[in-house]
């Protein structure tokens, strides 16, 4: 019986496995292989050459760019977590009717199903030199000159990340909060806990798995991004993803591949650490 199960299981999982092998495993293998190849101006040549890695680790730019990547990931994480947690808390514990809960939750998730590129573009009229933010601040008399750092800056990059990815925090945190047994909260209240104590000692510990899943989403999305940084910084800042995409634009595939391998290892390492704190399969 068990043997039969394994056979049928594999048979049904075969199509998904085939897709993942061909479009995930093989591409990764290919990237690892090409990262040892050599490049001329016109083509790439199979070789076993550590030059790409030597160049990568020998260059100061690499360390700066990796530092930048972590900085974006950390700042985005702080903001998405605090906003996402507050929103999920409101939805789960303060909205009383289930219909309203569903409606408001959907309102939070709908942007996820629309285009990221357009959501980035839509910041232009707001942040631009003559944009809404500057003209409002000037009319209030807060500033005399328009601020230049609103659009095409690190500020804009973080803002866009928070705008794009906060719902990746809201959804898993809300999901875990909805499964908290309300009698636990009542018990805490009966035992004399204040609202803040309930939040800190009961709700936050029980919400940790959701927080971890949201964190994994946000951190990996930000670390692997290249388009938000390029667009929102006006090509003035760089993260690892942009380093890779610049190499690709120059057709320097082996060098792009070496950077990609290091990026992948970094991301997997970060995820590996986080997975120690949460069992994803149990949370579904």
């Amino acid at each position: 019986m068990l043997k039969n199960n394994t056979f049928i299981g594999w048979l049904m999982a075969l199509p998904i496995m085939a897709v993942l092998v061909f479009f995930l495993v093989l591409p990764i293998a290919m990237i690892v292989m090409v990262s040892f190849w050599k490049a001329t101006e016109f083509s790439i040549i199979p070789a076993f050459d550590l030059g790409n890695y030597e160049f990568l680790f020998g260059s100061n730019v690499t360390y700066r760019v990796f530092f930048n990547t972590f900085k974006y990931a950390f700042l985005t994480w702080v903001f998405t977590l605090s906003i996402g947690f507050t929103v999920a808390y409101f939805l789960a514990f303060h909205v009383r009717s289930q219909t309203w809960q569903i409606v408001l939750f959907l309102l939070c998730t709908i942007p996820f199903w629309t285009s990221n590129i357009i959501r980035m573009i839509s910041w232009i009229p707001f942040l631009g030199r003559n944009g809404i933010a500057n003209s409002t601040l000037i009319s209030w008399g807060v500033i005399d000159q328009p601020l230049d750092w609103l659009l095409f800056s690190d500020f804009a990059v973080i803002l866009a990340f928070v705008h794009l990815y906060t719902l990746f925090m809201v959804v898993p945190i809300f999901n875990t909060m909805m499964r908290i047994d309300t009698s636990l909260i009542e018990a805490a209240r009966d035992a004399g806990a204040s609202g803040a104590q309930i939040l800190w000692n009961v709700i936050i510990p029980l919400t940790k798995p959701g927080i971890m899943i949201g964190t994994i989403f946000v951190v990996t999305l930000v670390m692997g991004d290249f388009i938000t940084v390029r667009f929102m910084s006006g090509s003035q800042s760089a993260n690892v993803g942009r380093l890779i995409s610049n190499d690709i634009a120059l057709l320097a595939y082996p060098s792009a591949a070496a950077t990609a391998v290091v990026l992948l290892l970094t991301v997997l390492l970060v995820i590996g650490v986080m997975l120690r704190f949460v069992d994803i399969r149990k949370e579904l």
């Binding site: 049928i8 999982a13 998904i16 591409p27």
Partner: protein
């Protein structure tokens, strides 16, 4: 009902601000896309007109938008159907707790967290090195599946974790074959979630950028076309296009949500006839 605590009003205000933050920019470009012919990318509005929408319909003004829309739409449908079928099969496979299923599980997680540009680069390299031509319907299609399948499969995991096995047992006891059990019992029960999977499949594909970048070949999909426009178009025609595709996305989302609602209602109605046939 007990009265609302003061924190409720603070949190409501916070939530309202959050919604404003989420939707404000999109609404702004929707308004600005009706900018008069002399207007620019920011306020003030120089009158209102449909000038920029008209521009979209003139072929030479802005690249091959309608062609790329058609490709994105077809690709979205292809990805949607494939995602639904493969996710259901995968979800059913995982219920068998077969040996080696954890390998597949970790592959799914990897597929979800891997930086998109690696898929783009890797698939592009495989196709170019083996002499195949990259095309949106082959390499682009596969690259997008690596993004939609994890979502589809995770939804199926969540669904089957909550699935009451006694329905299947009842069907089997009544003499249903395993195919009949699947077709007449399991699939109807999970159908609202399948609509959810379809929604993810279609919209994630329709909007996907990074994984299609190096895998779509010489014919762009819509997000690629729009991104190309950001570097050389500096008129509100960009906003007009953004508004149109957002409206299209919203219509699709609305359609899927209505379908899901309808299917849940129908299920609730059909589920209540238990015992009627006995009389």
């Amino acid at each position: 009902m007990e009265p609302r605590p003061r924190s409720f009003y603070l949190l409501s205000a916070f939530f309202a601000l959050f919604l404003l933050f989420l939707y404000g920019p999109t609404i702004t470009i929707a308004i600005l896309s009706f900018q008069g012919p002399g207007g620019g990318l920011t306020f003030p509005m120089q009158g209102t007109s449909l000038h920029w929408f008209r521009d979209l319909f003139e072929q030479q003004a802005v690249g091959d938008i309608w062609g790329s829309f058609r490709r994105s739409f077809v690709l979205g449908l292809m990805v949607m159907v494939t995602t639904v079928i493969l996710s259901v099969m995968g979800g059913l496979a995982f219920r068998k707790k077969f040996k080696g299923s954890s390998i597949l599980f970790y592959l799914i997680i990897t597929s979800l967290v891997i930086p998109s540009i690696l898929i783009s680069l890797g698939v592009g390299l495989i196709f170019s090195q083996s002499g195949l031509e990259v095309h949106w319907s082959t390499s682009g299609f596969g690259a997008q599946l690596t993004w939609t399948l994890p979502f589809g499969l995770l939804i199926m995991f969540a669904v089957f974790n909550r699935f009451d096995k006694s329905y299947e047992e009842a069907a089997r006891d009544l003499g249903a074959t395993s195919w009949q059990t699947l077709r007449y019992v399991v699939l109807p029960i999970i159908s609202p979630s399948l609509i959810g999977v379809a929604l993810f499949g279609f919209t994630l594909s329709y909007d996907e950028f990074a994984r299609t970048l190096l895998t779509s070949g010489s014919y762009n999909t819509l997000p690629l076309e729009i991104f190309g426009m950001t570097t050389n178009v500096t008129t509100p025609v960009l906003y007009a296009l953004g508004t149109l595709t957002t409206v299209f996305s919203l219509l699709m989302i609305g359609l899927f949500l209505c379908l899901a609602l309808w299917s849940t209602r129908r299920k609730a109605r059909a589920g209540s006839d238990a015992g009627k046939g006995m009389l």
